[in-house]
Amino acid sequence: MYRYDEFDHRLVTERVEQFRGQVARRLSGELSEDEFKPLRLMNGVYLQLHAYMLRIAVPYGTLSSRQLRKLADIARKYDKGYGHFTTRQNLQLNWPALQDIPALLEELASVEMHCIQTSGNCIRNVTSDHYAGAAAGEVEDPRIVSEIIRQWSTFHPEFSFLPRKFKIAVSGTEHDRAAIKVHDIGIQILKNAAGEIGYEIWVGGGLGRTPMIGKKIGDFIRREDLLAYLEATLRVYNMQGRRDNLYKSRIKILVHEIGAGEMKKLVEEEFAEVKARGALQLPDIEVERIKAYFAAPAFETLPDATPELDAAIARDPKFADWVKASVTAHKQPGYAIVNISLKPIGKPPGDATSDQMDVVADVAEKYAFSEIRVAHEQNLCLANVRKKDLYEVWKALDAAELATPNVGLITDQIACPGLDYCNLANARSISIAERISERFADLKLQHDIGRLHINTSGCINACGHHHVGHIGILGVDKKGVEYYQVTLGGAADETAAVGDIVGPAFTEGEIVDAVDTIVKTYLGIRKEGEIFLDTYRRVGVEPFKEKLYAAH
């Protein structure tokens, strides 16, 4: 894993000290709220409905056991003993007191963690594939580029006050688990015929009020040119992006207004200039230095066939269910990728208690090279587990309610904090997700339904990725009452699509039944081998509309 160098260390420690002074001056009244707000946001401190909220960065979703234990500890000591893993692979604490945050940040810094790049109009924490380094067919571990981008972008003076926030995601496999096409910049790692590594660049994707799928402007940016190309893209956006209207300030609007062709041209012109200056060439030696941090762990040479695993599956049907949903093939024979569901039936998606975090940290230490990943689906992941250890891993996770066998199924939902916590919300999302989860709790039914992603957001900001859920649910406010608008057919992977609005919104009382109707309609018309999304793409919105609004 990447270790901070001394420079990083000093930066983070200085930042904590600086913030300690700022908090003291705010509490004494020396700083007004207007002066303080941008400063607190730069340190990941928001104000929600009930308390402050702290967003802790987990760069590209990779944590060590030591770091996860520290997060557990902090949540216990400064919060109510739980945290919320988010779609941006971060961790949010819902209840810290402002006066405690400097001490909390100091503790975080002791494990090389911080809240930098989790807020404000800067380049945010880079996100990536939670299977990084473990997925079959991976061109290269996407965390190498992610870390290079992190180092380049942290406190980048030119890009600290962009027109709006800026999100970059990286995928190293053809199958996109990082939703790169709904990011401001999405990077797809490729290898050309000569075996060289390069990058496909997608720009102008995003969710929120105006959802857009990114457009490809770079086909194969050479490795040594990547930062120069990103710098060129950011510079074009920084100069041409709109600052007059908050709703039009993201790069997606710029790309939409001038067109992908013009965007490509502007970026290439700027790129030529950046390159001519030569300052941002990425030397091989630097890439190699960072690459070394993400070297594969010391895998044993094992046969892929694992009789003790097969025997356990045959013996214990509960374990078999879990393996079926949670375990994925690894590129290394004899190893597997383990997804840890943070979606117990009827509980808030993405929440983990401090005790659960400790269990995951322990299991990772014992069985997974002390490494944990956060998935954008708000689950955790152990990327490198020996297949013969899976039974022990399952027992430990199951004892901590961390083995719900629903990964990828209908109860594995994404939901933003919504009106239960969020100041901007129109309606609740978590409680809707909880009720949907209860409705579809039956595992046999879940397997029969197959892979189906339901994503819920409490307002149009779309933190819960509703536009790209196979079924998307958006909370709207009608005169102080919660309503829910439904979209169908969204996708966040390499076939990314924004869902279609199915019709008028449903009340809080109706929404779970509406989802049930959609699922039943699909089950009635699907063809052999189809998942919900396939059926939807084949038949379109009409059959669902008919059933949903039949009685109206």
């Binding site: 104000l47 409905l49 009930h50 739980y82």
Partner: protein, 112 residues
């Protein structure tokens, strides 16, 4: 700041978040801030509402005790003062989830 009350609301109270920890508080008749809505001063009619808000604002600046001071609509019921909107009910009583902890565990029945 979004609107949390409406024109013609009969009863209103003033709420804010406490500066030190962000906790939801209500302005009381003796110019203190209470965590319980039941302690809030309830203003009847527009003028009394505006006066209550002005009193509350004073604790933001120059008072430096609270943030985001605003008026919201309430109802007087036989079970006490209740917020009219879902949002303010959740602010008053905590999230409707995780009923095992926090205010939502202490205030029986408020989310029913």
């Amino acid at each position: 700041m979004a609107q949390h009350t409406r024109k013609g609301a009969q009863f209103q109270a003033v709420t804010a978040n406490r500066l030190t920890d962000g906790v939801v508080v209500y302005l009381t008749a003796d110019n203190t801030w209470s965590e319980s809505l039941q302690d809030a001063e309830v203003a009847e009619g527009k003028e009394a509402g505006d006066a209550l808000l002005a009193r509350g604002q004073h604790f933001f600046e120059p008072g430096n005790l609270v943030l985001d001071v605003y008026l919201f609509e309430v109802e007087k019921t036989d079970k006490g003062i209740r917020a009219s909107s879902v949002r303010e009910t959740i602010r008053q009583a905590g999230p409707t989830i995780r009923r095992d902890l926090g205010k939502q565990a202490e205030l029986e029945g408020v989310h029913e």
